[in-house]
């Protein structure tokens, strides 16, 4: 798709461009702005209405946000931040360097500044750090008509008006009512009679992964957030939940591939940053693979007597590694989605044991015949396939159990997968291989 904004800007069609911008979705505007140069971006940005400028700003990349902020007046800054939803303002400020933060905070209204400061204090993975304060709260003694009046007056500045939260005089959360219920209720009914008192809520201190699990389970549009004294302090809407789930899954993908999670998308990360995120784990895994090397070195005498043993080392290492990743991946994903609980550890162990007996058995038999078909002796074929059988049982059970044990001791289960597991499994499988070779081949 061509960049419409760039085309109209080049043709100096100011009037048409302004009309086009009015019609465009702010997400699309942000996307097209990212492809323009700095001065063009600023030119177009200033053509936007106050509302749309703030909406678009929230979707821009932080480097572009910074260049805009550095180019506009203090008054303009104040007006943008004022229009931003609090969670977007906080997201933006978190990415800015200290001097920009100072200038931004100096130009927002004092009450908003206090709010932003208190939000910046929530821990990174907490529900508090992603919630917004733009929710509609109602009192239980209100009538439906009064509720409608309140929604009409405060609604334009709220992130959603479709789920309203009911609080008592101490601001304690006592229920919720959906706009749908309000629609279908009598205008003089009382909120306390139509509200749903059974509220599913989160706490500011909850891990955002737990929040995600509630979202997925109940399918709600928004989830209220309360503080340690059960007072309603915020709300998380489904679109933020969708972003959190995407980020959490990306992080798990990265950890399982032995990568330090990155802040930016792939193409926006520098080569230096990409290298830095990878080298730590590569060095660590590379160090531990020296163990496998030493085990091999210790058995050089054996290999000199029976050189064909070497040819089956890759087979043993790769196949048991693959078998182990299959198990660890399923368990890690199951833990993340709360389909597997810590108390299921024994159940998981026995499932994997049986799966390993079946898969390992099939592979052992197939490989035994195949190795003999390549002209090798039966004792050698038996040595390889028996080693394969034992290492698959070990790698599958260890692959499934390690992430659960990791989670028990508060380690990230995802780190226990793939590469880290392979390194352990490799050392063990080579050790088993040589032991079985010694026993069967009498080396």
């Amino acid at each position: 798709m061509a960049n419409q904004i760039a085309t109209l800007l080049n043709e100096a069609e100011r009037f048409v461009l302004r009309k086009e911008l009015d019609q465009m979705n702010h997400v699309d505007i942000a996307e097209e702005l990212e492809e323009l140069g700095e001065s063009d971006t600023l030119k177009v940005f200033r053509m936007l209405s106050k509302d749309k400028a703030a909406d678009t700003f929230a979707y821009l990349d932080s480097t572009i946000q910074q260049s805009i902020i550095e180019a506009i007046t203090d008054r303009e800054i104040g007006s943008i931040i004022d229009e931003l939803f609090l969670d977007d303002a906080v997201d933006f400020i978190e990415e800015m360097p200290a001097n920009v933060v100072r200038r931004v905070l100096a130009n927002v209204a004092p009450d908003k500044r206090d709010m932003i400061n208190s939000f910046l204090k929530y821990p990174e993975d907490s529900t508090g750090s992603i919630m917004t304060i733009e929710f509609v709260d109602l009192k239980d003694e209100m009538t439906v008509a009064e509720a409608f009046a309140r929604i009409r007056s405060v609604g334009p500045n709220k992130e959603t008006v479709y789920t309203c939260y009911v609080i008592d005089n101490a601001r304690k959360l006592i229920g919720f009512v959906s706009a749908r219920t309000l629609f279908l209720s009598n205008h003089d009914s009382f909120i306390k009679d139509i509200m749903e008192p059974n509220v599913i809520f989160a706490r500011t201190s909850d891990d955002k992964e737990d929040l995600m699990n509630s979202f997925r389970k109940y399918g709600y549009l928004a989830m209220p957030v309360v503080d340690s004294e059960d007072r309603l302090v915020g709300m998380v809407t489904f679109d933020d939940a969708l972003t959190v789930q995407e980020e959490e899954d990306t992080e798990d993908f990265e950890k399982m591939a032995a990568l330090k999670p990155s802040q930016n998308t792939y193409l926006k990360t520098t080569v230096f940053e990409l290298s830095k995120n990878r080298i730590f784990w590569l060095l660590l895994l590379n160090l531990s693979v020296f163990l496998t090397g030493s085990i091999v070195a210790m058995h050089e005498g054996m290999l000199a007597v029976m050189p064909s043993l070497v040819a089956f080392m890759p087979l043993l290492m790769d196949t048991s590694g693959d078998a182990g990743s299959q198990s660890s991946t399923l368990v890690i994903r199951g833990l993340a989605l709360e389909e597997i609980k810590l108390s299921d550890i024994l159940k998981v162990f026995f499932i994997e044991l049986r799966v390993a007996l079946i898969c390992g058995g099939v592979l052992a038999v197939v490989n035994c015949f195949r190795i003999m078909a390549f002209g090798n002796s039966f004792p050698l074929a038996l040595t390889v396939s028996l080693s394969l059988y034992v290492t698959i049982i070990l790698s599958k059970t260890a692959g499934a159990i390690l992430p659960i044990v990791g989670k028990m001791v508060n380690l990230d289960p995802a780190v226990m997968a793939g590469p880290a597991l392979t390194t352990i499994v490799d050392a063990v499988s080579i050790l088993i291989y040589f032991s079985i070779a010694k026993a069967i081949l009498g080396l």
Copy 2:
């Protein structure tokens, strides 16, 4: 958390139980029912109000759904299916055996039966297969007051009333209007004047992964779905999108670990099914690793002259495999989230090349010193570290490019990751190792 339903049922507190069920969320009821026996489940299920029974039914596991359907009367079946949203009814029917499907379809109203049948025809990964038809449609010549009247009359049976779609007389989608806009508009305004004509929509034939990307991008509550003639035929709501994203990510995790994607959650899959999902890839990878083995076997003479070469094979294979998975994982995830496009292939190649030069360089130097520190000669250390450098460059560039090439020829990028890549990289790295050894050590 104790199972409240089970407790009350055991204490024969029917009246209290009924009251408790009224208050409970249907998702929680479904969760607790799954832990009861068949006859208790049925007993409790029949205590639920018609609405709640249908809501709860949609969240039950398909084996429990089937046992309920087999135990209730034809009339009860008709009433449950009638209350279910169409997408939930279709999901349920897709899981049932033929005889149950026949009995269910015989007991629903003819128009609903026709609908269900037409939905069953959408391909599995298409947007059509997950959409629902319970949306609110408005005409552009309606006033806001008329729109409210329509929402009030049809609303109770719609999945959402917060986004209404505007159609013309040929049922073509021409705009949308949110309940929030309706709230804030004058009662005698016309829909055509307040509607947003710029609608983001999906087609029934669109892949649901593309639909997900739109959901994530725009953060909408619901997305309208049109047929090949631009007529509005359905809608997908955010909660279904959340489920789709979870499923797509799970599928990618599984494919990247060389697993056939599973239909059920881990603990609900039988050991036989789990084994079946794993054995195909294990056998295939195991077959291809024979290639690596053959390369090793061909160089047995060389290994006999210089046995210490063997000890560094695991290091070479593991480290280059890890380096390759890092790259492929980032690219596969980037492709799935549309952060990387097919046209970025050259850009990605050069990024990975530079990252590989950095990471590979660090690893080569570190390993060269480490190998000498263990008392090996400089030529051997040079052989290993030079091989490592070359294979890391190869595995990183291939790991990043193969998923993109795969996607170009319509292969799933995720299959190109991890295990499949490792097998290729292993064969190549061993080949490079022996060639470099020959050149440097003169073997």
